[in-house]
Amino acid sequence: MIATEGLSKRFPRVTALDRLSLDIGAGVTGLVGANGAGKSTMIKILLGLSPATEGRAAVLGLDVSTSGAEIRERVGYMPEHDCLPPDVSATEFVVHMARMSGLPPTAARERTADTLRHVGLYEERYRPIGGYSTGMKQRVKLAQALVHDPQLVLLDEPTNGLDPVGRDEMLGLIRRVHTDFGISVLVTSHLLGELERTCDHVVVIDGGRLLRSSSTSDFTQMTTTLAVEVTDSDEHPDGTGALRDALAAAGVTLLESSEPGLPGAGHVLLVEARGEDVHDTVRDTVAQLGLGLVRMEQRRHHIAEVFRQEKEEVSA
């Protein structure tokens, strides 16, 4: 789908991309990096809108420097920022964008109705976009990227500004873009946790350089970490804290949460399970404290842990 070779982009004062060589196949690929890591620059180059300083890039087998228009006809793009005029309806806007992609008028209308339904916009699609919620606007942005049935869509931070539920819905939708619609996806995010659920493959870039590129399953092999979540009780208003102390006393190794910032992370204890008996110890300890055991599950590694580890290796 996408291949780059020694791709560099230098601006007078910064190097946005530094000799990046990638080979991205079909499926859902996550492009991960902190803000300013070069993700948006990469998308601009892939759309043939910004020439690379050196190196080559090809999308769908077409060279970005010579076949920009052909690429853009077959590729969809959802920008990170707001891009919707508030005074037209979603239907009118998406029909117009479909025609801008080269679809004849009738096909543009039919595909718009289909696509808006697929992204989950129904009766509201006839109302002006100005009155939509952020989640609905994101769906319209996604719809305009899909309306011409591209072979590949480039989604720039599609979950930005969404609440946790909206985020989950959007990620589910992105997954379906590939599984149900057969369209390959390149999705950027600065949140690693999001992408491990959605992507088949993750590319991590930092400072314009490739940090790591591998399949999501490689990143998140099964580990012997147990995630434990308990309820609070009258006796132990902070059930999690009480359990943590009790487990530590019982000689069980507790791990740092990988995503301390995420909502709910404070209520999940990560326990290193060296043997089967650890499960029993956790169960008995919870029972002794009189707490309700909400869940106890084996955890996969989060991409974030790998990312942190890679960064340490690089900086070392």
């Binding site: 759309l47 228009a69 920022h81 005074d87 801008m100 080269g102 096909a107 149900d180 057969g182």
Partner: protein, 317 residues
């Protein structure tokens, strides 16, 4: 565009808000399940079609077509105001069996320049400022069209809209003149000169209006900038001309006319299109000075295009 949701198989609907699960129609024992995603195998008409689509959409938009009812009000009123005097002139000519129309074909747009100015001030920002303000421009550039196509489509649409506005009364005058059985040859020649005049005017005004609007993402500023430019330049030029005329009439009157869009058109058509100048004393440029007028107009039109191209270089994505 406003196809009711019930015509084609309507899976989904308000009963199915979460996603694209099976849609269940209210009536009938047969369940229609989601038809799923359909691939598009039809034609993709490419870059020139996309550019034409943008041109059509922008041209229609200038008259409020395909937009809300509210946005049709102003352009339609201005269009009516533009045509009404022509209809009156025609009516008078027909009733009085006049040998000539009261107003020349080339003179009409000059007389109603305020209406043209208002139309431009309202519609140029509508055409380009919205795309900039709501950051829709990057979406356009993620489609097959190039920057040049976008600028040409917008420029073409704005000029075409002005042409429609200015040519309509000229056509009314011409039809009226023929109905009043005026001399066919004379009238057709005048009509042709009028067409050329309003075509040049449309290009010049369209370019100036878009450049001003493209630098002001806020629509209100765009409106103000266009009106101010047209009014101030014309006001200054005509005042200076009047002062010189009252003192020592000289060729300076002609050269000062180069500094406002409407006097440029006036000068051009006086020199080449048989028009009577609206300059004080009716002294417009002769053929020599007329060439300078033509060059300045061509330069402004080309310059507007160049400035717009530069403007959109930075906006892509």
């Amino acid at each position: 565009m406003s196809t009711p949701s019930g015509t084609v198989p309507p899976p989904g609907g308000p009963a199915n808000p979460g996603g694209v699960g099976p849609g269940v129609p209210a009536a009938g024992a047969t369940q229609i399940h989601n038809i799923g995603y359909r691939k598009y195998d039809g034609p993709r008409l490419g870059r020139s079609y996309a550019m034409r689509s943008l041109y059509t959409q922008s041209l229609r938009g200038a008259f409020g077509l395909g937009r809300s009812a509210k946005s049709k009000v102003l352009p339609m009123i201005l269009f009516a105001v533009m045509c009404l005097p022509a209809a009156l002139v025609v009516a008078v000519a027909v009733v009085t069996h006049a040998k000539n129309l009261g107003v020349g074909y080339t003179r009409y747009a000059i007389l109603l320049q305020a209406v043209i100015g208002l139309f431009l001030a309202a519609q140029a920002p509508q055409s380009v400022s919205r795309d900039l303000r709501f950051r829709t421009v990057p979406l356009y550039f993620s489609r097959p069209i190039e920057r040049r196509d976008y600028v040409l489509a917008k420029f073409g649409a704005m000029s075409s809209a002005l042409f429609v506005l200015t040519v309509a009364p000229v056509v009314i005058l011409y039809i009226g003149a023929l109905l009043a059985k005026m001399d066919f040859g004379d009238q057709t020649k005048g009509f042709g000169q009028g067409l050329v005049s309003v075509a040049v005017l449309s290009l010049l005004f369209g370019g100036i209006g878009l450049v001003l609007a493209a630098f002001t993402p806020r629509r209100g500023f765009g409106v103000a900038a266009v009106i101010a430019t047209l009014v101030i330049s014309y006001g200054a030029v005509s005042t200076l001309q009047a002062i010189i005329w009252a003192g020592e009439p000289s060729s300076a009157i002609t050269w000062i006319g180069l500094f406002s869009p409407i006097t440029l058109i006036d000068g051009l058509q006086t020199a080449f299109l048989g028009a009577h100048s609206a300059f004080p004393g009716g002294v417009g440029p002769g053929a020599g000075a007329g060439v300078v007028y033509l060059l300045v107009i061509a330069g402004l039109v080309a310059g507007s295009y160049g400035v717009l191209m530069r403007r959109y270089r930075k906006v892509g994505l």
